[in-house]
Amino acid sequence: MALLEIENLQTHFRTSDGINRAVDGLSLEVRPSETLAIVGESGCGKSVTSMSILRLLPENITKTAGSIRFHGRDLLKLTESEMRGIRGNEISMIFQEPMTSLNPVLTIGRQIRETIALHRTVSRAEMDGRAKDMLALVGIPDPARRLQEYPHQLSGGMRQRVMIAIALACDPKLLIADEPTTALDVTIQAQVLELLADIQAKSKTSIILITHDLGVVAEIAHRVVVMYAGRKVEEASVEDLLTRPRHPYTVGLLGAVPKIGVGGDKMRLVEIPGLVPNLKQRIAGCVFANRCPKARDLCLEFAPALEQKAPAHVVACHFAEKEGLAA
């Protein structure tokens, strides 16, 4: 059974010039102890999806429909106080901005203890012990001293490790990592990814990894969901998707990844022409049609359904051929 099942999620924002359909009918599932990557360019709805799961979006301007079942309970139907019992406890989240995601005026120790204190009834000494263990787990040397320090005394990579320590303090079943390495430099990125993979191997925590970086995906994901304009356009295992992408958008994304040593100096990066569609207007046909090299009249009129086109490989494209499936 899946740990998390999102069904037909719609997250719409009310703005001064219309409704922004940031996520429009997204379905996906996360299985126990797997890493699911959600990939797409800026504005495709991947972060909004993660914020919708934890219900962290401003309620006065957000309308959410569909269902997000976690352990069978629909998170969208829980009360705010039930939801608080889940946040940081069963589902944790780490963010893109390690420099600003920690409170500058509280010690590291206090910020780790806070999560524990919110969800467990334990003594101060136990909390301190746990906080120290967590810092050691995420690879921070001299944890006892670091507990007394403030975020500004730590580097960006260290802060992201602290964020991970906070997120894991209550042994969550699901960790949502929203662009966890984007703000870090490349060597630190690799270390943080390795840490996430490590933790998953040890603790069997499921991870939703939100990223625009296919290199990161190749590194640690098991399955990938490709999002475009608030919708899922392709879903497959990571090997399958990287080697045999079927949606023209995924093909475009992969083409836009620089490869060292291929094509020499003359090789240019392939870009996807055009812009992401305006999510405030209804799109009749395929959401990618206006940028798609394969688009026909059919695509502008009818939206392709998400269909299984190969074993464990779902694509929303009229022109993706079926393959390897029993008729």
């Binding site: 920690l102 005026v105 999560t115 969800h119």
Partner: protein, 313 residues
């Protein structure tokens, strides 16, 4: 830290010197002749001339400034021209009501303003927020004396809950002391509450949009924890700053408030001295006010690191 404190204290010296110079020259050039007042209505020109000489008023500006400054540096604030009592003694006699009024005003204003700022930032854009900020604009725009007379009329004259005027020293009991200061402190503090809550709200609204507040929510923190544990401590620096700056407002307001409620404090002393051109007294109290203001803001500077670990001296 100590080095910073010493440097910070030393840096107040030129400011104090400038204040002293301004205070002295303002009164030097002010119209009106204290010798005339001092000598009385029936004095002959010779007598007036003699008074002027005795008071040293016939000397040049720089000589008078120099001798005054020299005396001040030796703790000699001079002698009142009207009552012949040393200014330092006058200040000592009048300090208690003023200190009481200021302390009480500070306490109630801060206790009222911080929760108002929190509520209004949390409920930003709602009717509650607009209500609080509306009160803020009102509190800031109504002059203290108007508010003071209104309060006095309603609560002292009509309802008789509080005395109309006068001061009861704290030595005669805390209850009567509080009772005598309730209306003055309320009148004086209202604009202060408005100022602090407005600045506090703005600081809190900005803080509530920070990434670390989102982190706190993602941890499962409730509004109470987010506001008190995360937001308020971050807002402390701007709030404490405006409290310090606002002390200037309180000092000015105290002069008016003490006059309306007939409190025998420094404010009244100042107002009376200005009306009678009692130069030594005016100079003494203005120096005292400036000194207090600087001391408060020095204290504010020194407590910043308590609230924000990134500030280190």
């Amino acid at each position: 830290m100590l080095k910073f404190a010493v440097r910070r204290v030393l840096s107040t010296i030129p400011v104090m010197a400038l204040v002293a110079f301004l205070v002295f020259s303002l009164l030097y050039f002010a119209p009106g002749d204290p010798a005339l007042l001092f000598a009385g209505d029936s004095a002959t020109p010779q007598q007036i001339e003699e008074v002027r000489r005795n008071l040293g008023l016939d000397q040049s500006f720089w000589v008078r400034f120099g001798s005054w400054l020299w005396a001040v540096l030796h703790g000699e604030l001079g002698v009142s021209m009207i009552s012949n009592v040393p200014v330092a003694t006058l200040i000592r006699q009048r300090i208690e009501p003023t200190l009481s009024l200021m302390a009480l005003t500070l306490v109630w204003a801060v206790t009222a303003a911080v929760p108002l700022a929190l509520i209004s930032a949390w409920k930003q854009g709602t009717a509650i927020d607009r209500g609080i900020m509306g009160f803020g604009v009102f509190g800031f725009s109504v002059p203290i004396f108007v508010l003071a007379y209104c309060l006095s009329y309603v609560f002292a004259v009509e309802l008789r809950w509080f005395p109309i005027q006068g001061y009861v020293p704290i030595s005669r009991g805390v209850g009567p002391w509080l009772n005598s200061l309730a209306l003055p402190a309320f009148a004086l503090g209202t604009s202060y509450v408005a100022l602090i809550s407005r600045i506090g709200r703005a600081a809190l609204i900005e803080i509530l949009q920070q990434d670390y507040i989102r982190t706190a929510r993602a941890k499962g923190a409730a509004p109470k924890e987010i506001l008190f544990d995360h937001a308020l401590k971050n807002a402390a620096v701007p709030i404490v700053t405006v409290i310090g700056i606002g002390v200037g407002l309180l000092i000015g307001g105290a002069v008016v408030t003490e006059s309306v409620f007939a409190l025998p404090g420094i404010g009244r002393l100042t107002a009376d001295a200005i009306l009678r051109r009692d130069y030594p007294v005016i100079q003494g109290v203005v120096l005292l006010f400036s000194f207090t203001y600087m001391l408060v803001n020095l204290a504010v500077d020194l407590i910043y690191p308590l609230f924000d670990p990134r500030i280190r001296y």
